[in-house]
Amino acid sequence: MFSFPIKYWLAVIVALTAFAACTKDVNISPQAYEGKLSIQSLITPGKVPTAYVYRTIPFFDPNVLPSDLFVRNAVVTLSSDEGTEVLRPDSILNPVLCYYEYFYVGKIPIKADKTYKLTVAYQGVNLSATAITDRRIVQLDSVTYVPQFKDLYGEHEGIVLHFKDQIGKGDYYRFAMGRTFGPKDTILGVGKVISQCALGKTTWLQEIGRTIYTDQNGDGTAFTITIEPTYKHKQGQIGYVRLQSLDQATYVFYDQYDRQKLAQFNPFVEPVFIKPGQFGTRAIGVFGAYVVSDSIRFVYPE
């Protein structure tokens, strides 16, 4: 005869009542939302200009793909004292997320020490911002590897960049690494989803560090920054590591994106509002300038 002691029944009842957290989906009435443009354009000497122009959407809007949100009928112009160029729409396959991304691109390479003005004309409104291509390249001294280090994201391996900050405050640095993935490599993208687009192909991927480092507390000193690589790797695989030197507008903009992304995932962090930037209240965006160091060949030791 099956018997279940009263103590166990009590335990079940107590557990069910005292700790019975109930979760259900709830409908939230959307609040009125005035759409804006999302503009990102970073220019660097020697490269043709690009500008990513998308539209923001109400929170529960079902459209989330670049093809849905790209603003095709904007007029995007880049001007300097040497003239004005109208940028044209183009696209490229994102091999990790497996969709095409759309952007505006020019033909005339950017020149150093110039002031550029980006203007996006859309639905009768002109949104513009300026950037100066006066960043100085800071070269990497060396790139090393540590199998373990601790940061906000726990304990993991790291690629270590060594360089010396140039004198004068207001320098902002970011990690960049390009790698080739062979046909037999499996790319684990964000969310550890195997990208079908990259399987069986040779794919070039660029990792850009999310964290931007400032020289506010170490002007002119030697810097060592440690980066957790994003994608899986094998011993002997090769990457080409560079150091980006950014302007302040770029730092301010991407820093708030970085902090918001953290707050989205971490329930213990206050939400971060994206504040109106260079383009005013009708757009969320940045128009900045940066330079890139020479690359250092890096071989994964494990």
């Binding site: 009590l10 700790f19 939302y33 109400p58």
Partner: protein, 766 residues
Amino acid sequence: MERIPIHFLWFFLFLTGQLFAQNNLSGYVRDADTGEVLIGATVAVTEFKTGTTTNTYGYFSLGIPALGDSVSLVFSYVGYQPLAVRVRISTSLEPLKINLLPENSQLEEVVIKAHADNENVERTNMSIINLSVSQIKAIPVIAGERDVLKAVQFLPGVSAGSEGTTGFYVRGGNIDQNLVLLDEAVVYNPNHLFGLVSTFNVNALNSVTLIKGGFPAQYGGRLSSVLDVTMREGNKKKFSGEGGIGIISSNLTLEGPIQKDKSSFIMSARRSYLDLFLLPLNKGSNKTDYKLYDLNIKINYELGKKDHLFASIFKGNDKAQYTGANALNYGIGFGNSTGTLRWNHLLGTKVFVNTSLIYNQYHLGLNTTQGQYYALLYTQIQDYTAKSLLEWYPNNHHAVKIGIQYSQHALAPAAVSAKIPKKGSRLQIKPDSIPRSYADESAFFFNDEIRLGARFGASVGVRVPVFSSKSKTYTALEPRLTVKYSVNPSTSVKAAYTVMNQFLHLVPSSTASLPTDIWIQSSSVVKPQTSQQVALGLFHNFGDNQYEASVEGYYKNMKNQVLFKEGTQLLLASDLEKQLTFGAGNSYGVELFVRKNTGKLTGWVSYTWSKTTQTFQELNLGKPFPFTYDRRHNLSVVGIYELSKKWNLSADFVFNTGAAYTLATGRVPVFNDGTLYDGIYYDFTARNNYRLGNYHRLDVSATRHQTKTWWKHKVETEWVFGVYNLYSHRNPYFVYLSTDPATRQPLAKQVSLLPIIPSVSWHFKF
């Protein structure tokens, strides 16, 4: 420069002159059965239509015009039979010892009755509500746990957090703005079980008073309220006890004389046993555990006719662990300890001095995991306090309180929030290695309750707090003023203006669903919180004082409110002060309160309409936003009905506008050359722009009283049958966002905690 002392001298001479123009009667009012002091008992002189009330120690002093050789006094108190006595007046009067009989001691029916007086109309102070312990015991609460704070949450101007959050919110103030005192010791977190049950064991309590505005000058250090809880002294006549067994916990209170009529003790303990029941389920890594206990001990001793010593200690602890649901996964331990040593001394019949030495300690340690992130928090406060209060009753027109207070605070805050590492260990907080920050807080205060004729009264006071931390010293001046005009014996109008300062701050987290709050002190960066409050009220009794009613309106502004900056990620090495942002708050509202104190049906209806906003330069794009617990409508109905001499019925209903929370209104696509920035970001257009669903629930209970004889002793027993949240309304606890894996669409999910919870408990008293 010399004018101030001269004026002070004149003032002193004036009062002294008044002193010699009258005789004084003084004494203590106590329960005749137990010798317990009665706090707030009314003393009326029938010939002169004047009177007073007893203080926290049951003491009164009353000026009598020198017109005869005797005078008639009437003593009355809620639940006690009024007592009329005629007292001979002599110049060497010793303190009177007045003993009042409980109303049910000679009546067949057990009826909660109050003396039919108009004290709420007559007294000068406003925004004060006294709760009797008998009422608190009768209100149905969760799992049969009789509770002070749940009763307080039913009062006007007070709102609760959502289930699972701690504390109560008064007139738009945060929970840290409530000064909770137990026998004068500060209790920083008066909650057990995440706010479902308070730390106060009602069997050990004598009185509970909530002050929301018009604060007398002896109170300070918090902006929004004072909850003054006084422990009983213990039965001076005979050994007795009471206790209860419920589904969550059991409690036992023992009390009795050490030396009859001279000294007594009371000891009260409570412990939960969820941990014992859950033992069979806690196998493997998933563990759910909860343990709480509290202990109150108080001893008092009459050294002589003029000296009285009290020693009381309180210790309460909670320890909980829950592993399972991804949205709610935690381990928490917190506790309060207090110790108070007090000395009452009478200087003649007009001066009462209370001197106290107080120790209190509060600590909270929390580790919690939600999704891929974890947070650790530890906060500790330790205070040593010495204070002395002199109460001077020179005549019937003045009741002067002068005092001085000193506290040393030691705080140890630390917090971490990080992603769960793929490998390796998580960060740890070691409480002993957290750097302590020390501060000194002292205050001088003066308050005079003035009676000007039959209609006018005023309470005039000033408090001067001084706070010194390592980096900064702050001095403030806090005027306190309440005026009263009696329209007639049953109606009065009152107005109050108060300035308050607060030097210890609880920095709340608006996002987490657990109490990840942390205490810090004022410094050169963190300025003291300050508030100014004005209140206006109309007080009216009707039905021969069976009903008391009031309407109060208030406006309060609060400066130097503190919150975490956007995106603050707490790290062990973080300098907390750099993670804070400062702003202002505004609150205004109207509170309606109707209470029936006598008859078979007692209880009250309370409704509050209020609006509270905050403005921070660095938050919400600098625009005002609703306070998280800004509840526009707050309705509470409490009813207690004596069905028969054996059965009591009680019910309460509560309705609150849902708490505010923040959701983005738009999404920002970022597709940027396949970089790690690619993704969808949130476009927040306003902070606290959404509301949780309205909170409402109905609780009911039925109590069966019996008197039995066990082992030749009379024992009163009670069975209490209760149902919490009778119609099982799924009240919102918090809302979080998730993403549909198929459509990649955001989903809103609401977590609710407490459905219908039936309970039964058994109580006894001998």
